[in-house]
């Protein structure tokens, strides 16, 4: 018991220490600059957050942004999985890799500005975030697939195992640890891109537009409160993916 406590104590102490230092720096800056407009105090930020949390608008915006994030992330992950799987075929990979490279190298801002012109404000953030998270997950999944043990593949071929069984019992479990790690870092990015695109597309009832409006009214404390909400949202989504990974990868 004592030993276990000793083991998990650092897991609790260090994150708290890190958050503590950030909060302390924030408090020092706020006190030193002493202008709510530029660096709001911790107190007023949490006051605003409290106000937000009691209003229905907050949940509406949060819900919409969350749905967009989920839609973009899930389609990105699914497309990345399917395309990285077919990329195990060399000719398919040679065809796809320049396409993915181009998608990858287009500046995020161009993607956002272009899709805002082409699509509705409610859907463009989904597509923008997809264009950003899909190539990242594709590369992550593809390298995980190419790392699958060739000896096991050869074994399953000699024993005449069907592709379906190879996929579900050999390939997918083999890529799972790396794939979940990749998805965990992509989800946070997806939240950020969705919110950025919402700002530029002026998407109604969204976290992005709420931040933009707070900025417009010089409500810096409220802008920070929304930011805190976005950080917590990312963190919870990351934890969720981590939990799914733990439930799925049980053999290590």
């Amino acid at each position: 018991m004592k030993l276990k406590l000793k083991k998990i104590l650092p897991d609790i102490i260090y994150p708290f220490a890190a958050v503590g230092i950030i909060v302390a720096l924030w408090a020092i800056f706020a006190a030193a600059i002493d202008m709510e407009l530029i660096v709001p105090s911790i107190g007023s930020t949490f006051d605003k957050l409290g106000n937000l949390l009691t209003g229905a608008d907050f949940y509406r915006a949060l819900g919409n942004t969350l749905l967009r994030t989920a839609a973009s992330f899930l389609t990105g992950a699914l497309a990345a999985l399917l395309l990285s799987l077919v990329s195990l075929n060399d000719s398919v990979r040679k065809f796809l890799s320049p396409v993915i490279k181009i998608v990858r190298s287009v500046p995020t801002m161009s993607v956002i500005l272009l899709t805002v012109i082409w699509m509705k404000p409610a859907t463009s953030p989904i597509f923008v975030a997809f264009l950003i998270n899909f190539p990242i997950m594709y590369s992550g999944f593809y390298s995980a697939f190419s790392g699958v043990d060739k000896d096991l593949v050869a074994m399953s071929k000699v024993y005449g195992v069907k592709f379906k069984n190879r996929l579900f019992e050999l390939y997918l479990p083999a890529i799972a640890p790396a794939a979940f790690d990749c998805m965990q870092s992509s989800i946070g990015l997806t939240v950020k891109i969705v919110i950025s695109a919402e700002v530029i597309a002026q998407t109604r009832y969204s976290m992005g537009i709420a931040m933009q409006m707070a900025r417009g009214y010089l409500e810096t404390a409220e802008l920070l409160a929304w930011t805190l909400a976005a950080v917590v949202l990312s963190y919870i989504l990351e934890l969720l993916i981590f939990a799914i990974k733990k439930a799925f990868v049980r053999w290590k």
Partner: protein, 227 residues
């Protein structure tokens, strides 16, 4: 089973040059040879894992292969690892009986729910053996399966192999660099040299199960002479 004029090179490295070999059905052919002479390549040619020139005539297409390394799926238990290769050949109802029976024979029934990472080296090799015999193959290929085991473990596993084989004979090619292993299981022993020369070819008169510690000093001498 017949290999007819089989050639295989890796670049300039000629491993087999118009190599011919006939293996008797339902008998164990041991292929002795030093490291790098092409033993693994020979098994990969027979199993279709590598391309080559020439032809291999087989009595059936189903092949069991006990690899040099265990090749178990890390995410599947012992039981599921065997089930993995049987799903395509047996009905759902039949599979559990076959797996449980073979696991009892290799003394792994109590370990059926363990993952490969929880097994010792000898146990892992037994799973690999069980998988090969559970699979209804015409041909059995074995690539130095007893190599990494200590003496007493090796002896026990060879006994297990012989008892499995006695009730379930298959056309077997067993490659090794250990002459004692060859004498412990084989019906016929050949000595292979790089390029595909056969330096010795001895048929053992006493069947493996009746062999015990029978003295093959004359045969052994002839084999040692060419090594």
């Amino acid at each position: 089973m017949k290999l007819i004029s089989v050639s295989k090179s890796y670049g300039d490295n000629v491993v087999f040059d118009k190599f011919c070999l006939e293996a008797e059905e339902k008998k164990i052919l041991a292929v002795l040879g030093s490291s790098g002479c092409g033993k693994t390549t020979l098994l990969n040619i027979i199993s279709g894992l590598t391309d080559f020139q020439g032809a291999v005539e087989k009595s059936g297409n189903k092949i069991s292969y006990i690899f040099q390394n265990k090749r178990l799926l890390p995410n599947l238990t012992v039981y599921k690892n065997i089930e993995f290769v049987l799903k395509n050949v047996y009905s759902k109802e039949k599979i559990p009986c076959i797996i449980n029976e073979i696991l009892r024979k290799v003394e792994l029934y109590d370990s059926r729910n363990l993952y490969p990472s929880e097994l010792s080296g000898g146990m892992g090799q037994r799973v690999s053996l069980a998988r090969a015999f559970a699979y209804p193959s015409d041909i059995l290929l074995m690539d130095e399966p007893f190599k990494a085991l200590d003496i007493s473990l090796k002896k026990r596993i060879i006994e297990t192999f012989n008892s499995l084989y006695r009730t379930d004979r298959r056309t077997t090619v067993f490659v090794t660099h250990d002459i004692e292993e060859a004498f412990a299981v084989a019906d016929r022993i050949i000595v292979l040299q790089k390029g595909g020369n056969i330096l010795a070819d001895e048929t053992l008169s006493v069947p493996a199960e009746e062999r015990g510690y029978a003295d093959f000093s004359e045969t052994k001498k002839r084999i040692y002479d060419v090594l």
